[in-house]
Amino acid sequence: AQSVTQLDSHVSVSEGTPVLLRCNYSSSYSPSLFWYVQHPNKGLQLLLKYTSAATLVKGINGFEAEFKKSETSFHLTKPSAHMSDAAEYFCVVSDAEDSNYQLIWGAGTKLIIKP
């Protein structure tokens, strides 16, 4: 069965410093993995997705994530945080074993940017 664990409910970084949001997943087969972002009072937006091509995936707004099968991780990173990155981030997994209809969502990580 699939599951997703976002290891931190809140992450606080200073503007201009690197961002690391951690995500571990459990999946029986080769998964598809997604990161979504939700800015305050805004809708959910796809940041990036991994679909078994390159293990390092680049997304919007300078974010990227690396798929590491041996560690069952899909951590989200950004070299330099900007104030506009303050939002909630969700890691999501889908795989071919389970229904195509569902994605399993992590509980979310709130990213706080200090000036």
Partner: protein, 113 residues
């Protein structure tokens, strides 16, 4: 530009009222979903539909029902609203493969008094 629209952004209802939340997508997607989002709990799946007139219960279906009479429209019904159903409700649609992402509507913030 792909779109998922929801009938209301904000809704206030009284306990015991019947509530309809409507969602329309223009991407010809087979799969549609209703979630509720509460602080600290992430997204929780209420129901999903994989075809017209087809539906499956998600993780928290109690107190809710759904209707999908047309491919583009998926409705969430609260038969008798209760205060613990105060929440943000999100509709999403998705294509058929495991690689496809979900596209979300803007959400409906429902308050039940």
């Amino acid at each position: 530009d792909v779109k998922v629209t929801q009938s209301s952004r904000y809704l206030v209802k009284r306990t015991g009222e019947k509530v309809f939340l409507e969602c329309v997508q223009d991407m010809d997607h087979e799969n549609m979903f209703w979630y509720r989002q509460d602080p600290g709990l992430g997204l929780r799946l209420i129901y999903f539909s994989y075809d017209v007139k087809m539906k499956e219960k998600g993780d928290i279906p109690e107190g809710y029902s759904v209707s999908r009479e047309k491919k583009e429209r998926f409705s969430l019904i609260l038969e008798s609203a209760s205060t613990n159903q105060t929440s943000m409700y999100l509709c999403a649609s998705r294509g058929l493969t495991s690689n496809d992402e979900q596209f979300f509507g803007p959400g409906t913030r429902l308050t039940v008094l």
